[in-house]
């Protein structure tokens, strides 16, 4: 028993491999949202997103608002074509 106690074991790591991630700066911000196409991506929590959509449209009437909504937790994605004409995205409440 004393020999077993003093034996040195190499014990392996159970943790998976975190591959290196390239970290990006955030996209440059807009000077103003007026006159821009801002996309509202709604997923979940209609109690929040219904009044939010109303407020955004009434408080910022000079914005071209586009909206995609789902009750589920995964947002409906913008197509590549739609991304070309979208200046900003507000997404909530799941991600």
């Amino acid at each position: 028993m004393p020999a077993a106690k003093s034996k040195v074991y190499k014990c392996l790591n159970p943790i998976g491999t975190q591959e290196p991630v390239e970290l990006s700066a955030l996209a440059p911000r807009l000077k103003s949202i007026d006159g821009k196409t801002i996309h509202l991506s709604i997923c979940g929590e209609p109690d929040i997103t219904i009044p939010l959509e109303k407020r955004l449209k009434s408080d910022y009437p000079d914005v071209n608002w586009t909206v995609k909504k789902t009750y589920n937790i995964n947002p409906i994605r913008l197509s590549e074509e739609e991304r070309k004409t979208t200046d900003g995205v507000i997404l909530g409440v799941c991600w």
Partner: protein
């Protein structure tokens, strides 16, 4: 999160609205997907929507216009590294090391295990891991990847689990498996380390590797460690208990292989409550492994391996279906009453089915399903013994599919009743989607239109177990995907 990261990298400014206690998790995900400084606005769980929006609509919009800080403009590389050898020393010290905990503020500073599921583990010495690796022909440094092409089947498509006609749902042999929530990868050796810690024997290792290939019970990060059913010859080879006490204690393969998913979730996936994952109060993480007693199947009834497209001679695991289920409902079930009903037409089931005094075999499904969907929607998974399967076979159910179809047809109810349920807000995408049996928009359907509460026959599942006690275990879940064990031998 990958979507928001893509948009930011494409040059489109974004802002995410989350709920306050989710922000630690959001920050974590943002780093994993390469945009650590993602802008976030916190909404409330308790304020009414209009008042809540009033509190943050201005900063929300400013998130798209406020100039970037120096920190937000930074780029770089995040490359956390883990040593292969985690600890060197005596076994007693190793036990203390592997059982370390940290206090996590999000769970009121309760301790959370750094390397285990909370229970003591077998210490993964280099020698023990080497022995475990002898259980497979795969190389220790091989990265866990899919062993075959996978496309959603038509049946899975019907359940909304992928779309068979859309290539974005296809996965190819060789695709690297990601363990969630950290989207990590793993080698065969890293899986072996966890298998040792769970107490597995080398001969169990191909099953463990198949579990790893399935994502290791990590799901989208809230996987809970998963639950698995083993089908095929390996059930007998390993001595997986499919008989009395199959859900109880005492059988090493059931308990140790069943435990592996929880360790893979913690160690490969990086699950850490409120830090890398949130919204799991638990209920997951319970060790679960069942086996199928295929020898007890009546003629024409397929085993799970064949049902999922494999050969009868192939050993597979089926991941827990994960679908919702009506399995919590239905009539109370007394094994003795069932026996009396089939033997001589006595007792509650016989009264209910109006066959009093008439010996069986009788179809017991109507009694079983009475009230099945009273409070839950979805399919029904049944674990039954051979004599009960034979009773169904004798009354005309010559295939499992005929039972699934029968249950499905029994689940129809009028739309007006379906609307009052808790789940369909979600299943119908807020009633904005198309109802499948009619092809019509949900809002176009009359109150009396009949819709299925069990979404598809395939959402039901029968698992055969050995034994004579006429218990009929029930749960939700249905059919999950199948993963070859033989591919990992």
């Amino acid at each position: 999160m990958p979507y928001l990261a893509e948009l930011e990298k494409d040059g489109i400014p974004t802002v995410l609205i989350d709920l306050k206690e989710e922000t630690t998790k959001v920050r974590h995900d943002a780093t994993v997907y390469g945009v650590p400084e993602l802008r976030v606005i916190e909404a409330s769980r308790t304020l009414a929507g209009p008042a809540d929006v009033d509190n943050w609509i201005e900063p929300l919009v400013q998130s798209l216009t406020k100039p970037l800080t120096a920190k937000e403009k930074k780029s770089g590389t995040w490359a956390p590294e883990q040593p292969r050898i985690l600890f060197e020393g005596g076994l007693e010290d190793a036990e203390k090391f592997y059982q370390q905990t940290e206090n996590i503020p999000g769970i009121l500073n309760a301790p959370f295990s750094m390397y285990t599921d909370g229970l003591p583990v077998v210490i993964p010495t280099e020698e023990r891991v080497k022995e475990m690796l002898a259980g497979t022909s795969h190389s220790p440094d091989e990265v866990i990847a899919l062993q075959r092409d996978m496309r959603p089947t038509a049946r899975e498509g019907a359940l909304g689990v992928g779309n068979p006609s859309m290539p974005e749902f296809y996965r190819k042999k060789g695709d690297v498996v990601r363990f969630m929530p950290m989207s990590r990868t793993a080698t065969v050796e890293q899986v072996a380390v966890n298998a040792v810690m769970a107490g597995c024997k080398p001969e169990y290792f191909p099953v463990v590797l198949a579990i790893a290939e399935s994502g290791g019970g990590t799901g989208d990060g809230r996987g809970g460690g998963g639950s698995f059913v083993v089908s095929g010859p390996i059930v007998e080879e390993l001595g997986i208990n499919v008989s009395y006490g199959r859900g109880s204690i005492g059988n090493p393969p059931n308990k140790t292989i069943g435990r592996v998913g929880a360790l893979l979730w913690r160690n490969l996936g990086g699950y850490k409550e409120t830090v890398s994952t949130i919204m799991t109060y638990g209920g997951g993480g319970a060790a679960l492994l069942h086996g199928e007693y295929a020898k007890g199947l009546p003629p024409g009834w397929k085993g799970l391996n064949e049902e999922l497209g494999f050969k009868k001679s192939e050993s597979i695991i089926m991941g827990g279906g994960g679908g919702p289920g009506g399995g919590g409902g239905g009539q109370f079930w007394m094994p003795g009453v069932y026996r009396a009903f089939q033997k001589s037409g006595h007792g509650a089931i016989a009264r209910w089915l109006n066959v009093k005094g008439i010996p069986g075999p009788h179809n017991f499904l109507d009694y079983f399903l009475d009230g099945m969907w009273a409070t839950r929607e979805g399919g029904v998974t049944m674990v039954m013994i051979p004599s009960m399967a034979k009773d169904l076979w004798d009354v005309g159910f010559k295939t499992k599919d005929s039972v699934y179809e029968y249950i499905y047809k029994k689940s129809f109810e009028p739309v007006k009743k379906y609307r009052m349920r808790g789940g369909p807000d979600f299943f119908t995408n807020g009633w904005m989607g198309i109802e499948r049996t009619s092809g019509k928009h949900w809002k176009e359907l009359s109150d009396d239109y009949m819709v299925p509460v069990c979404p598809d026959p395939w959402s039901n599942c029968i698992i055969l177990a050995h034994g004579e006690e006429t218990v009929l275990d029930r749960s939700g879940g249905g059919h999950g995907a199948g993963w070859s064990i033989d591919a990992w031998r």
